[in-house]
Symmetry: D2
Subunit: 278 residues, 4 copies
């Protein structure tokens, strides 16, 4: 007898080995607390860019938010429960946007792409959540004489350098308000899955929201600094699967830098509050 | 102005940087020939297994084929055009199956899972083709005193050893018939994409066929040998994202080995003939 | 004109590109402070073993110290100045020993082997310092529900698991005395370089001492726990370059565990006080 | 009782676990045949350079040979017996030189540096043979539309690109003479081991020769093409352990290219004929 999908259980390819294992469903269907872990060290650099360039990166229904400020954020995450305590790293590029649908009107940060260095996380994020996750190498940062240097590459081609220095710690009493400054309803995405065989058509195409609130997240430290970020021009031969993405960022105007931050946090959520926007 | 999808072009997340780059669509929409390349060295070991165990791995509409023979195939591929000449490796587990739908009745090898060591290929294969691709490390084989040893691991946990020895080359005049022995309509898959937010429901769920024919593929050498394959029992801590898969193979009955092969080929197809079964 | 060695400068193969770059000599001959960095997180598990087995691991002139307690220590190091801020990890096995030479009589921990995951550090340590450094993969630890799991492998063969749990932090006021408990003169090594062409003869063979004191090192946190360590039996095919080492540890008697520790430190020394024992 | 060195056996740090394992001494002291294996694919690009620049790379006793032609050679080696069938890759830079000692007068190719991507091989080559081996990442080549692209990096900084195209196979009857064209007595090296504690002094410093003859090596295929090679300028931060080496090659004059080759071979020798020059 062929198998049947169990009602109420999550599945993912391959579906043949029972309910899927991942951040939102563990062995036997159990949930993860994400209470004291994962631990995250996140660096970001922001810059004022060109509103017209950013608009071209938005699908229908979206518009650039109040200010065309791009944030490049790189996160080094450890002690992840659904990975039995392993970690992985991410690199994202986002800017403020507004989504207006038939029902929903939400504001937030539009996450254009999120590189990660672990395929298992990429697959789950794309298919379950609609995050635009793709792969690259994200080694640990190089920290020397007060300068933090984060970088990313693909098959040996380094496509990004992010450097921050002149670090100043944010006093404990100001951390909470600074951490919550990042207003809006959450993070905006656009989920798209192509239809097999009918090339150019879609099986899935809808806007998605990651609600802002992460109740378990505790900010342990916050620092501010001055930073720069560079994306390098890539020939197709250098990055045959993502030169279009990297070159778009290479060509993005940097009008002025808007500061850099480092945040150390514990706790997370399993993102099961992710929802389709209509 | 937000962007519009170009008619007739293929897209994939992130859709914001123009038409996607991949095996079926290169820069400016060009196609790849796959004429003299890629180059592939493929090893496989087959064994007679238990029909009931295999049936439990089949979604509705599928049944086990004539003989419950499982094939574990590992492929080392180089000179891939859409990767600008880079390569990657794969490890698949399949067995004969029959699909009976409302319109289609096809036979072939049901590919239960295909591990690959390159995320870019995994994403494209899952979303565009419906292949059940997931990630693992697949280093180059170890070849010593007539024995070929292929292996695979995830985050340092080795979950499979495949060993072949007593190699005998198939005479050139017999290669063509031996290569075409693998009858049926092609390779069978089940594409499944979960629906965001409505956990347990699907956005996409359909059977898919990779038609058998690969006109450009030329078999350069074929060898036969004797081989064994072992999947190791994994605790959840060892393989938190795929212990269910590896343990299923660990528990699969091996009634008798049915030989091992090595095939060296050139040429491929872009799989744009992949089609949904109904 | 061929080049001449500059007097007073350190060299290493290849000597043809000027004075060497390393922990004890930077660009233009500058020294490194190692004041606030590197940062280190070190885990260790100790066990009472068999005195006779340990004696067999000691070169002439050495004897096992007061108690045959073996310590397996794994260190994750970041922000290393001579690496421009990169880091690397190490795994060492040591036990107390006494060296009696013609002039010197010293006690300390005899470091039988030190695995590291960075070749540049291995070469420098072997040739300049006489550390018995060899290579293996040492990924970041897996930390899950209060258990820390450290592991090491070579070409996909995992040869060691070290697990610690039931962590209790050592109160700040006791850290200093606990950190200095590790008495003796320092770490003992045996440097040996074979003579080219006269196989079986040595170019270099002498005992070496790393003096105990590290003035810049500050212990930031100290924890105690309960731990176990396992070395796995390796066939020659599994570890063709180091099965003799791993199997020796696999066969080592574990009479009883003697606790486990975690220490977080900043600061180091450049080890230029390393000296030959006579 | 402490251990004693066994007479006639080779040792290497750590010496405490019995005779060493390596290319020239296997388990129980056995030798390796290297008859049908390893298999090697070697690419090289040569160029006429500046005699004065090359002279500055030679230790005392050496002079540049007939023509100041530099060869950059990259080798992808598999099925290595002493590694139980694993492989590794190398990247070397050499030019013709003459050594005149008290006894010896030999000509050959002076190997200034040999990068390898396997530490186990690097340690053995440095200490036993006097090869100037250091580490870098050497991924498999990228081969696309008739162009072969080899590259090398260190911690994500790509320092070399080597590209060859317009390949023409050398007819079988000319391979033997072409393969033996490379005259001279062998490959020249300078072995140097620093003395511990007396910084700037040497424990070992002598010239070494790898005799030319490799009786077991069979050239299976030889191709000629047109190639270029680029070493990239590195800041100390990019390559803190080897910027001096890479920048020397970056600054090397390229007067004209002298062709490129690809050679596929089987067989090797264990290099136990390596000898000190006097």
């Amino acid at each position: 007898m062929s198998y049947k999908f169990q009602a109420g259980k999550m599945y993912r390819m391959p579906t043949h080995f029972g309910p899927s294992l991942g951040p939102r469903q563990g062995e036997g269907g159990r949930k993860y607390d994400n209470l004291e872990s994962p631990k995250m060290t996140a660096f970001s650099v922001s810059f004022l860019s060109n509103r017209e360039q950013l608009e071209e990166l938005l699908p229908e229904g979206f518009a650039v938010g109040a200010e065309p400020v791009v944030t490049v954020a790189i996160q080094y995450v450890t002690e992840i429960e659904w990975l039995a305590g392993h970690g992985y790293n991410t690199l994202g590029v986002s800017f403020p946007a507004v989504f207006t649908g038939k029902k929903d009107h939400v504001t937030g940060n539009f996450l254009t792409v999120l590189w990660e260095n672990l395929t298992d996380a990429i697959i789950r994020g794309r298919e379950e959540l609609g995050f635009s996750k793709i792969y690259c190498e994200i080694p640990e940062p190089r920290i020397y004489q007060g300068q933090t240097h984060c970088f990313a590459s693909w098959m040996g081609f380094k496509f990004m350098d992010l450097k921050i220095e002149n670090w100043k710690q944010v006093p404990a009493e100001e951390v909470s308000s600074a951490a919550n400054k990042q207003n809006g309803d959450g993070t905006l995405h656009y989920k798209y899955i192509p239809k097999t065989g009918e090339w150019g058509k879609a099986d899935v195409a809808y806007a998605v929201l990651t609600p802002y609130d992460i109740p378990n997240r505790v900010v342990k430290e916050m620092w501010q600094g001055e930073g720069t970020v560079r994306f390098y021009k890539a020939a197709w031969e250098d990055l045959p699967t993502q030169c279009n993405i990297v070159n778009t960022f290479h060509n993005l105007e940097i009008k002025e830098y808007r500061g850099a931050t480092m945040v150390k946090t514990t706790g997370a959520k399993d993102l099961s509050d992710q929802r389709i926007l209509q």
